[in-house]
């Protein structure tokens, strides 16, 4: 496909302009795939969101009717509210990950294996995490129920309770997410300058003061990435909801990602247009974070030049 070498030497035009044209050859295959499967579909979804469409038959243009409908849809507000809860509580993974990283940042015997085992949950599929936690929460024989009974309390059916279900799923999601943040912080801690720590010690800084004034500023890149991946993880939450509750009971654990799927592809009907409208809202929320990320990356790039 792109074999500039075969042409070099034969055409002087190529030789003269090789360095101007070469990057486009290198970019073409990847850019084509990315454009067709990622960039274009974003705009197609926006366009589909203006139609009434069952995915097979004719599309009917209905303008912003799908969005108007969203405005009055209780299920949409439940999903949106749950997404906010996800975003807020998922953020706990960042300080929790830092805490675990500080706890494990030692050089005792076997610590390498301990670190790998702590990281382990992140390697598991969310399907497995979901099944494990669904079982953990089971009201008749789950471990949680047993612990409750041991304290003489009545077990809660976490996943069948409208008030607790979202929190139960988020707790399951935090397990791998904390592991992820931990590994980011462990790498960050590994690269902290020992001189600054020593200097801090000489100035009498200890414990929390040292952490706040000397260590955390140096961990800023790790914190940034941890926040970014946690936000994305929270807004992408689909797998766990689907595995653990299918959005139930009575739709109380739906999030936007799941509600969109339910509207567009599940047994509740094939409302592609309406689903696309939900997706556009989710995309708009994500866009805020994507923009922040890009702005930061841009300022870094300029600094690098």
């Amino acid at each position: 496909m792109n074999r500039p070498a075969a042409m070099s030497g034969s055409t002087s035009f190529w030789q003269r302009h090789q360095r101007r044209i070469a990057p486009w050859f290198f970019l073409a295959p990847g850019a084509f795939m990315f454009a067709v499967y990622v960039i274009l579909p974003i705009f197609q979804s926006m366009w589909i969101s203006l139609y009434d469409w069952d995915g097979i038959g004719e599309k009917t243009f209905i303008g912003i009717a799908n969005y108007v409908e969203l405005f009055d849809d209780d299920a949409f507000y439940t999903s949106l509210k749950n997404n906010v809860i996800w975003l807020v509580l998922y953020m706990l993974a960042v300080p929790a990950g830092l805490f675990v990283a500080l706890f494990l940042n030692q050089t005792v015997f076997g610590i390498r294996l301990v670190k790998s085992l702590f990281f382990f949950p992140f390697v598991l599929s969310q399907v497995v995490v979901g099944l494990v936690f669904a079982w953990f929460y089971d009201p008749s024989f789950g471990l949680l129920a047993q612990v409750f009974e041991a304290f003489g309390l009545k077990p809660i059916a976490v996943l069948a309770d409208e008030d607790y279900v979202t929190y139960g799923i988020i707790a399951a999601g935090l397990w791998p997410q904390i592991a992820y943040c931990m590994i980011l912080y462990l790498t960050g801690l590994n690269n902290i300058s020992p001189e600054q720590i020593e200097a801090g010690r000489l100035d009498g800084a200890k414990g929390l003061r040292m952490l706040w004034h000397v260590v955390l500023p140096q961990l800023r890149p790790a914190t940034f990435i941890a926040v970014v991946v946690t936000v994305i993880g929270a807004l992408r939450s689909f797998d766990l909801v689907s595995i653990m509750t299918d959005g139930g009971p009575y739709g109380s654990s739906r999030v936007l990602a799941y509600y969109m799927y339910e509207q567009a592809l599940s047994e509740y009907g094939f409302r592609m247009g309406y689903g696309a409208a939900i997706a556009v809202v989710l995309f708009a929320i994500m866009m805020v974070y994507i923009t922040l990320f890009l702005v930061r990356m841009f300022s870094e790039e300029r600094g690098a030049r």
């Binding site: 486009w24 940042n105 085992l117 599929s125 494990v132 047993q146 890149p221 689907s242």
Partner: protein
């Protein structure tokens, strides 16, 4: 080093740390340990309500052969490999090219295009779902592993490009300039000069993409229906419905499904973590 190395603290603290470490590890992994233990229990043990105690008899072989004999989990695992391996090759291959273009050349639009790759990487899957499903149907690839592979390759190229480009940026640029002075063509600079240096990046990306794709559940449910193409994540979920309350089988199935990326992780841990923590140190 922060916090203070434990061997520099007094005996009291060292003692506490030595006890706290294994206890916290066990607490952290309890859900997993329980699944492992359950996967070797007998059905009778579970029927008797022994969910968390020590198993009365061990059915390691029985349970694991049962899931392979009585369910299509073997086929699901094969499907997962059929999706995962081509995706790794495709996405890593494409991103070597794009990463090289972004990392080496200065051209108009370099940064803008690069940022589009980065941004696309973060979009919610749902905004792609309807058009991608539609396109896959039109290509006649719905319900095939090839349909999944094409999408995964395209999507993963975003993340891989970010990674490769930053990796190539960190290489000494003098190498490329020296090669150009010698009259080496651009393609040969790519194959002979840069590619050999990219081995660690290729290794890191391969394990990461392998894990991401193996664990994908969303696209497996959107683009595939039948068991001839269903990857093990979605397959396990459907089996969970059939095996209602047969927790020893669900557990054994979960472990089998989780095993390939786990093995991959332990074998290539250094690369895996290097890939995952990209950007966590500089900046």
């Amino acid at each position: 080093m922060f916090p203070t190395p434990i061997e520099k603290t007094d005996a009291h603290w060292r003692m506490i740390y030595k006890i706290a470490l294994p206890i916290s590890l066990i607490l952290w992994l309890i859900p997993l340990l329980a699944v492992m233990l359950t996967s070797i229990r007998s059905a009778g043990d579970l029927a008797a309500g022994n969910y968390w105690g020590w198993p009365r008899d061990f059915h390691l072989l029985e349970n694991y052969t049962a899931i392979f004999e009585n369910s299509p989990i073997g086929a699901y695992i094969l499907n997962s490999f059929k999706v995962t391996i081509p995706t790794v090759i495709g996405a890593v291959g494409l991103s070597c090219l794009t990463g090289f273009a972004f990392g080496i050349y200065r051209f108009r639009g370099n940064l803008v295009l690069f940022f589009i790759f980065v941004a696309g990487n973060f979009v919610p899957f749902q905004i792609l779902m309807v058009p991608v499903r539609d396109m896959t149907l039109n290509l006649g690839l719905y319900d095939t592993t090839a349909g999944l592979v094409l999408f995964h390759v395209a999507f993963q190229t975003g993340f891989c490009t970010l990674f490769m480009r930053n990796f190539i940026r960190a290489l000494p640029f003098e190498l490329i300039e020296a090669a150009r002075v010698e009259g080496v063509s651009e393609w040969q600079i790519f194959t002979r000069v840069v590619m050999p240096l990219m081995r660690p990046a290729i290794a890191a990306l391969s394990v990461l993409v392998f894990t991401f794709i193996w664990n994908d559940y969303f696209w497996a449910t959107v683009l595939v229906q039948g068991k001839h193409a269903l990857p093990v994540t979605a397959g396990l979920y459907s089996l969970n419905g059939q095996w209602l309350a047969a927790w020893h089988l669900v557990s054994a199935g979960s472990i089998v499904a989780a095993l390939p990326p786990v093995i991959m992780f332990f074998l290539m841990q250094k690369h895996f973590i290097a890939g995952l923590t990209l950007g966590a140190t500089k900046g």
